[in-house]
């Protein structure tokens, strides 16, 4: 390793420095900054924090694009003891995370200004979470992936409990923390068993070591524990119990963060670890993951039907979506990988759009979260009611929207890999999901509400909803560019899969 290698980590370095700056900035602004005796409204501070954060995100994006010039095939580079790959797969997800994070900042803005909590630490913790996610998707070494995941998780625990005077938020943070650390311990135990058997933590070398093994109980157990830990992070079915409570109790923009960026980061490492590292034993883990996927889709979608709180409903729906993405991981084919990439993008934009609409209704901390608050929305805000329909259709996977493209890839890949029954379950459960998505549509169009929930649409929320609407419709009608990009970005991972499939 030389100093020159640090250029590969430029985006991560930029965002870490930015996160520290966000901590220092308020202290620099007012001399000492400890006691604020006469009232400068906190709104002013929150606005400055927002612009600082957006500037840092722009710089990080520039750094990612600048470093993408260095992309090597497989990045089999010897940088940092072969721990980080600066490949197109990582760049794809890094740009997705930064875009998501920028939209989250716009979503958080009014919400934070209306609350009594400091915006600086909030954005700083979000930056650290982003840093963790970027390390994760670049990691081709289990230790590197794990430490990135932990950085993301720890920031998420704190952010979930950021409204520390609200009982719900504290409860969410506590549940998330306890269950999250247990799952991290399980993940770590799995990693240690894999290390014990293969003698390495590098995914490529793990794959080489595994190809010489016929079967091995300890290794199987290690893969199982690793899978269980990852399934907790993506909130797949038997490990999903934390999701509704945490999503409900966390501040709404943080719920949006957990259900989009954090989740797609977990999808990315799930795909990377199982495609690159564990494909040799795929016949063993495919079946287990198939059952988990089926359970996620069934439990998530059926439980969502009875929910009246929209945050809980979306939490169960996101459990179902974890099931759909698992289809792509189970299939271990190029098609499946492209499906995971495309679906991550599609899912993130549709979900963020929904959260933007929910936030328009929530004037203060926990208002506007019931399905009944959507009643008569088409009178009060016809455009947003229409946008909401598009987002819900996209999550349901109905043709003119981008959701269809994502599901098409995933289901097709599952059928191609011989999991036809799973694809049938997935289609059935998509139909079920349309049922509860249309509960919201019915509330918006067919019922006249008493108009209690006021619509507060700020510029930021409008911008996010508009971007999500355009992206969702554009990729639904013209999927070409997105699919092409997914094919380029999935490139070397897919090549390894293809080579391995040919070997068999």
């Amino acid at each position: 390793m030389t100093w020159g290698d640090t250029i590969y980590l430029l985006p991560e370095i930029v965002i870490s420095i930015g996160a520290c700056l966000l901590l220092i900035a308020p202290v620099m602004r007012r001399g000492g900054g400890v006691v604020r005796a006469s009232g400068a409204p906190s709104g002013g501070g929150a606005r400055t924090a927002k612009w600082t954060m957006l500037a840092i995100l722009v710089l990080t994006a520039v750094a990612v694009i600048a470093s993408s010039g260095l992309v090597a095939d497989v990045a089999q580079t010897k940088t940092f003891a072969s721990m980080f790959a600066l490949d197109s797969f990582a760049i794809f997800f890094k740009l997705l995370f930064i875009a998501t994070m920028a939209m989250l900042v716009l979503l958080s803005d009014d919400y934070l200004a209306a609350s009594r909590y400091s915006a600086w630490e909030y954005y700083s913790l979000l930056s650290f979470a982003l840093c963790g996610m970027m390390f994760m998707v670049s990691g081709v070494h289990l230790a590197a992936i794990y430490i990135g995941l932990e950085l993301l998780s720890l920031s998420s625990y704190i952010l979930a409990g950021y409204f520390k005077n609200e009982l719900k938020s504290t409860e969410a943070a506590m549940k998330y923390f306890v269950l999250g650390t247990v799952s991290s311990a399980i993940l770590l135990y799995g990693i240690s068993l894999i290390y014990g058997v293969t003698g390495t933590l590098n995914l490529m070398r793990i794959a080489d070591a595994m190809s010489t093994l016929v079967t091995n109980d300890a290794l199987m157990f290690g893969i199982m524990l690793l899978g269980a830990g990852l399934c907790f992070k993506i909130a797949a079915a038997p490990f999903h119990v934390w999701t509704p409570d945490v999503y409900e109790g966390a501040p709404t923009p943080i719920t949006a963060f957990l259900s989009t960026a954090s989740k797609s980061a977990a999808f990315a490492i799930f795909a990377r670890i199982f495609y690159v590292g564990m494909h040799h034993f795929r016949l063993d883990w495919q079946v287990v993951l198939a059952i988990i996927a089926a359970l996620s889709m069934i439990i998530g979608n059926l439980a969502a039907i009875t929910q009246d709180n929209i945050k809980r409903m979306l939490a169960y729906s996101s459990i179902g979506h974890a099931g759909y993405v698992l289809l792509g991981i189970i299939s271990v084919s190029e098609m499946g990988l492209y499906g995971v990439l495309v679906y991550s993008v599609v899912y993130v934009f549709a979900t963020l759009g929904i959260w933007a609409t929910v936030l328009m209704l929530s004037k203060h901390e926990y208002a506007g979260e019931q399905v009944s608050d959507f009643e008569g929305l088409h009178r009060r805000a016809p455009l947003w009611a229409f946008a909401m329909i598009i987002f819900l259709l996209s999550l349901g996977g109905i043709p003119p929207t981008a959701g269809f493209i994502g599901k098409y890839f995933l289901f097709y890949a599952a059928v191609g890999a011989g999991f036809g029954w799973l694809a049938i379950v997935a289609v059935l459960m998509s139909a079920v999901s349309m049922f509860f998505y249309f509960r919201i549509v019915m509330a918006m169009y067919l019922r006249d509400g008493d108009g209690q929930a006021e619509v507060v649409s700020s510029g930021g929320l409008k911008l996010v909803a508009a971007i999500c609407l355009v992206v969702t419709l554009l990729f639904g009608i013209l999927p070409g560019p997105l699919v092409e990009q997914a094919k380029i970005s999935g490139g070397w991972v897919a090549k390894r899969v293809a080579a391995n499939n040919a070997q068999r």
Binding site: A81, E121, F128, G132, D217, F221
Partner: protein, 227 residues
């Protein structure tokens, strides 16, 4: 006697391991928090001995210094600071406890059955790692010209601290740095959750005397600092 002498590490392992497990049980079962903390200390020391058996002297020393020295003192500080003498006498066994023990035993059996039958990559990975990561330059004779000396890298043996340093600061440098970010986040989290603040809203609604007191506190602090 010979059997014991030749199996000394095994004997030590069995004795110390038993003490470690028993002490860790007592940590959870003691009703007095100070006693729990002291048994935790005993557990840490036993684990340090186990590290010595595995020829990881450096880790053992760190275990004693950091865990037994630093962290335990912090624990005891907190326990004595909040002055909890006895935990309330609750029933020790509830229906959850029995279920928990059942699940625990089941998982232990599973782990034991699966993990011990695994074929591991290397019986002594530490030894191999030491040899490959720690090297030194030595002067040796040139293979053809006996009057010439050449510098050569040679694997060094049995330098625990060096092996760890090499692994940590060279191979694992970047994860190590990220770990420092992780600790920073933990600290920020503790402060964010723990701090008491007067926010803008509270300032608007807070009675005057409270704001005055905050001001006075600041003045007093400034005065103290000035002197």
């Amino acid at each position: 006697m010979d059997a014991i002498a030749s199996n000394a590490p095994l004997v030590v392992f069995i004795v110390i391991g038993t003490i470690a497990v028993a002490a860790s049980f007592l940590v959870v079962m003691m009703r007095n928090p100070v006693h729990s903390a002291l048994f935790l200390l005993l557990t840490f020391l036993c684990v340090a001995v186990l590290f010595v058996i595995k020829a990881a002297e450096f880790v053992a020393a760190v275990q004693v210094l950091v865990y037994a020295g630093g962290i335990m003192v912090l624990f005891l500080f907190v326990v004595m600071l909040i002055n909890v003498r006895h935990l309330p006498d609750e029933k020790m066994t509830t229906s959850y406890t029995l279920g928990g023990i059942g699940v625990g035993v089941a998982i232990f059996v599973l782990f034991f059955a699966v993990v011990r039958t695994g074929a591991y990559h290397d019986e002594a990975p530490n030894a191999a790692k030491k040899l490959t990561t720690v090297r030194e330059q030595v002067l040796t004779q040139h293979p053809t010209d006996p009057n010439k000396l050449v510098r050569k890298w040679r694997a060094k043996d049995n330098r625990n601290a060096e092996a760890i340093g090499m692994a940590l600061y060279r191979d694992y440098l970047v994860p190590f740095e990220v770990a420092s970010l992780f600790l920073l986040v933990a600290m920020i989290g503790a402060i964010v959750i723990g701090k008491r603040e007067l926010s803008a809203l509270e300032e608007e609604t807070a009675p005057d005397y409270m704001l005055e007191r905050v001001e006075t506190e600041k003045e007093v602090k400034d005065l103290v600092n000035a002197n």
